[in-house]
């Protein structure tokens, strides 16, 4: 599941908090990246757990999901995710993978959007045969609790995902997944339900480089922000709420929309436990007359501890 992929920024009550400068956040990201790279392997980690730390920086050119140029605001976000997975064999072909994670996301310019979450997943996997090229089918159930500076954004999420993954030859991996997710927030405008279909093709290029292409289709709730009055959005919105998340009065409109997205990523394996990925993504979202576009660029560093 990728619950944050199409998550729209939120509105609602805001507890405030210290506003950190982008420079300080860059320092924090640098520090976190250094920790990721230089953290020694956890030789004493509990048997079978596979702890993993990922730090990501993402630029979204339309964090407000707006379709009027005056409402379009770009934002930089930093995220960190620590996950640990345990595999339990059930029989020759079946296994359970239990995963726990803690994650945080920070928007230096719009700290109201900062949030942290903790969650767990249970996945049943079936491998059809022996070998790296044998296909794998999995069903994953997940649950998350998240807390946000903008307290109405806090809430509980749950999801189920079905995935099919198969390698072709030495260097091609194809993964097809279907997710269904639900998030219940303190503020009703932040509730969201969605289904998402994703196809990811990853091709090993040479030595330590790989390239992946992703196509996603999502149907579900999104938040679009606009400066009122917007009678067109009022007519479309399931629910709306005034917000000051972006330093000026706007209204968050919750809409049931469809999104088509495409992403390209280039990954460099730095060593046996570390990789660096650079990705670019384009998303087009529509609902009746509403159309908006997001362009995202991200860099991610991941290390198995």
């Amino acid at each position: 599941m990728t619950p944050t992929l199409f998550t729209a920024p939120a509105a609602g009550s805001f507890d405030g908090g210290a506003v950190l400068s982008p420079r300080l956040y860059l320092r924090l990201l640098t520090t976190l990246s250094a920790i990721v790279v230089f953290t020694p392997s956890l030789a004493a980690a509990p048997a079978g757990w596979a702890p993993n730390l990922t730090a990501t920086a993402t630029w979204d050119d339309n964090v407000t999901n707006a379709n009027h140029s005056t409402d379009i605001i770009g934002a930089l976000a930093f995220a960190a995710n620590f996950a640990a997975a345990q595999r339990i064999s059930l029989d020759h072909d079946d296994s359970l993978v239990l995963t726990a994670h803690v994650s945080g996301e920070s928007f230096p310019e719009f700290t109201a959007l900062d949030r942290a979450s903790v969650g767990a997943q249970t996945a049943w996997r079936h491998k059809f045969g022996i070998g790296a090229q044998a296909p794998i089918f999995s069903v994953e159930f997940s649950g998350d609790a998240s807390t946000a500076r903008e307290t109405d954004r806090s809430g509980l999420g749950a999801g189920v995902a079905f995935a099919w993954r198969q390698r072709f030859g030495e260097s091609t991996l194809v993964a097809l997944s279907q997710d269904f997710s639900r998030f219940d927030a303190r503020g009703a405008v932040f509730d969201r339900s969605a289904s998402e279909t994703a196809l990811v093709v990853t091709q090993t290029l040479a030595d330590r480089w790989s390239f992946s292409a992703t196509v996603r289709f999502r149907q579900g709730d999104v938040l679009s922000y606009a400066t009122p009055p917007r009678p067109d959005l009022v007519a479309l919105a399931r629910i709306r709420s005034p917000v000051n998340t972006f330093g000026r009065p706007m209204v968050a409109y919750s809409l049931d929309a469809h999104t088509l997205g495409g992403a390209l990523a280039l990954t460099r394996t730095l060593d046996d436990r570390t990789s660096l990925a650079l990705a670019a993504e384009y998303r087009a979202t529509g609902h009746a007359a509403l159309r908006y576009v997001n362009r995202l660029v991200s860099v991610a560093l991941s290390r198995q501890l």
């Binding site: 596979a50 996950a83 995963t99 992946s212 394996t269 060593d271 436990r273 990925a277 991610a300």
Partner: protein
């Protein structure tokens, strides 16, 4: 000096995994009845993890002597196989001890030896006899990046190159031989016929055109979270 070459524009690269050197001392101590192999890639870098062998052409290879007192091992540790490449004589038994903290599912789909050690707990050590010559690819059905090779040979004269790319085969009787070099990233085995004289034999130098290394990577994909 003999200088067989495998011409190809492919980029070359040697991977310095734990190399197995079958009792071959340094190249500096070659004697009259020894044959030295020196392997480099297209960038003139030493090639490790290559199997070199000499097969007699004028008479059958000597029968295998008794099995090694200590059978070769392919160890599972830190979710990797060690060593990466093992060379053995046909009929040799190889132990597969799981010295890891997690289960493995060791398997081979290769024709010379198909086998499976499913749900293979830490502390276990199964033994597999490799009774057909050829190359056997060993994998783990849980951890796709785990990879090892067993090269089974019908000759007693073979070795795996260390990181220096140089190795000596000892006490080779005079006569005609087919020298062979195998490497996981060679498109096909490199061969060369030679005559080992009664006296000092010139070193065999091979320049190998290795394919790009496209092994499945262990590192987590920064573009994707989850258990690999």
């Amino acid at each position: 000096m003999l200088r067989p070459r495998c011409a190809s524009p492919a980029l070359a690269r040697s991977f310095l995994f734990a190399a197995l050197l079958a009792a071959a001392p340094s190249a500096a101590s070659a004697k009259d009845d020894d044959v030295e192999f020196r392997l480099v890639d297209a960038k003139n870098q030493p090639v490790s993890d290559a199997v070199v062998s000499l097969t007699p052409l004028d008479q059958p290879a000597p029968l295998a002597s008794a099995a090694p007192a200590v059978p070769p091992e392919i160890v599972q540790r830190h979710q990797e196989f060690f060593p990466y490449v093992t060379a053995i004589r046909t009929g040799t038994a190889v132990r597969f001890p799981n010295r890891d903290t997690v289960q493995h599912h060791v398997y081979s789909l290769s024709k010379p030896k198909k086998f499976e050690l499913p749900l293979y707990d830490p502390g276990k050590a199964e033994t597999i006899v490799f009774d057909q010559p050829g190359v056997v690819v060993i994998g783990c059905n849980i951890h796709d990046w785990m990879l090892a090779y067993v090269v089974i040979l019908d000759t007693p004269w073979f070795a795996v190159t260390p990181t220096t790319g140089a190795v000596i085969l000892r006490a080779i009787p005079p006569g005609r031989y087919r020298a062979e070099v195998w490497h996981p990233r060679l498109a096909q085995t490199a061969t060369h016929e030679l005559t080992v004289p009664a006296g000092n034999a010139a070193p065999l130098s091979f320049s190998l055109a290795l394919k790009p290394d496209r092994r499945i990577r262990r590192a987590p994909d920064a573009n994707r979270n989850g258990y690999n």
